[in-house]
């Protein structure tokens, strides 16, 4: 497809990680049918590299798309059919692993930080032992979300009313810079990346991101794009906003300790204060407001919280185990210095 001058071309397509992602790539390149996707059945690991990358590419059509890929493919019935099959696999795996929980307990559980003796969180590890190289890898992986921070949550807005809607929009307004482009959180993250000597181009580190990171972003897209999962999206948002403030405090400390610049520290320092506010607004007004209107969604909110915890734990576990073995948590070559 010819590029239209003055338009952002979108990131390049990644290399495939198995038959499913190869089929999606082929369909995106040729605007054809995604053939050879029988593997969408029971055979493919729902947490694996192949399925998560295939799903990620299909979701990306709703955000920025890819270089030289027809924008109209966003609504291709064949690709949507495939996406549906992959989503079912992922959702079934989540439902099988997330323990049923009471909504209030799930929310309160987020306030507790790991007790002594429990494995340290990723931000704990970074605050204590993180090297500059670890922090750069962490930022490269997280960039898949932070360069579109709060975008997946914007889809829930038309599905909310009253208190929940007003509060959700207020928090999103903050995330999107409160009317100032230079304060959009995704922009602040790009500044952080540049400070750490990383390339802040959208989608630049997709190739290096492991399935555990793709699963984290896919979870938000899944919850955001389905009205039927609006309760889970609210739970997801509550999880993110509640755990973010203390984690950001540790990450800001980690960055200061390795001598990162002001722009890098600013991203996390901003989130310490912002998310101390967002936590309260999301718990009481977004979740509280939603459940006042639709009390039957309480179980979905709890599921959203539990699923987010599960996906984030898997990402942290894999990342820490690679670092503790002295290796890189990225796929492919380590980041050039």
């Amino acid at each position: 497809m010819p590029q239209i001058p003055g338009r952002q071309p979108g990131p390049p397509l990644p290399t495939p990680r198995g038959p499913l992602s190869r089929a999606v790539l082929h369909a995106l390149r040729t605007s054809g049918m995604p053939g050879g996707t029988e593997a969408a059945g029971e055979a493919t690991d729902p947490w694996g590299e192949d399925l998560q990358l295939a799903l990620y590419m299909l979701y990306e059509l709703h955000y920025r798309g890819f270089e030289a890929v027809d924008e109209e493919l966003e609504w291709s019935p064949e690709l949507l059919t495939l996406r549906r099959a992959l989503e079912h696999r992922y959702l079934a795996a989540l439902r099988a692993s997330v323990p049923a929980a009471d909504m209030t307990q799930a929310l309160d559980g987020l306030l507790d930080e790991p007790a002594r003796g429990e494995p340290p969180s990723l931000s704990d590890h970074l605050a204590r032992h993180g090297t500059l190289a670890d922090l750069r890898e962490y930022a490269a992986m997280r960039s898949l979300y932070h360069l579109k921070e709060a975008d997946p949550h914007a889809w829930v807005i038309p599905r909310l009313t009253g208190t929940a809607k007003a509060a959700m929009v207020a928090v999103e307004f903050d995330e999107f810079g409160a009317g100032r482009a230079e304060d959009i959180h995704a922009r602040l993250f790009a500044d952080l990346m540049e400070d750490l000597g990383l390339d802040s181009t959208y989608g630049r580190y997709l190739e290096q991101a492991p399935a555990t990171m793709l699963a984290s972003v896919n979870l938000m897209s899944l919850f955001g794009l389905h009205r039927s999962l609006r309760g889970a999206l609210a739970g997801h948002f509550a999880h993110v906003e509640t755990t973010s403030s203390p984690a950001s405090r540790r990450l800001a400390a980690a960055l200061r300790r390795v001598g990162a610049g002001a722009a890098a520290v600013r991203f996390y320092a901003e989130h310490v204060e912002a998310d101390a506010v967002h936590e309260q607004v999301v718990r009481h007004q977004v979740v509280g407001g939603l459940l006042e209107e639709e009390p039957e969604l309480a179980a979905d909110v709890a599921f959203g919280i539990g699923a987010t915890a599960l996906v984030e734990d898997r990402f942290a576990e894999r990342t820490l185990s690679h670092w503790q073995e002295g290796g890189s948590a990225l796929r492919g070559p380590v980041l050039p210095v």
């Binding site: 306030l111 409160a178 310490v272 204060e273 912002a274």
Partner: protein, 86 residues
């Protein structure tokens, strides 16, 4: 929210009632923007739509809440013999 003529000065400048609510064992939430006068006479300003003012006085970002109050709450719970889920 409620607005109207300033009762004291009679000025037409519209004054708006700010909503404030307190989180139990947590911050005071105030509709922003907020200017906070510190004891040393200096001021800090936060222009968020809602500002979380620290009431436990342990925040590293004082006067703004940075969620440090959660630790204090847990310690108090432990001291008073309260355990998880009881």
């Amino acid at each position: 929210m409620h607005s109207g003529r300033d009762a004291i000065t009679g000025s037409d400048r519209v004054r708006t009632t700010r909503r404030v609510w307190a989180e139990e064992d947590g911050p005071l939430l105030v509709e922003g923007p907020v200017e906070f006068r510190l004891a040393d006479g200096t001021s800090v300003v936060s222009d968020r739509f809602v500002v979380a003012v620290c009431t436990c006085r342990r925040s590293a970002a004082y006067p703004w809440c940075d969620t440090t109050h959660r630790h204090l709450q847990r310690r108090q719970d432990a001291d008073s013999g309260r355990t998880e889920g009881s």
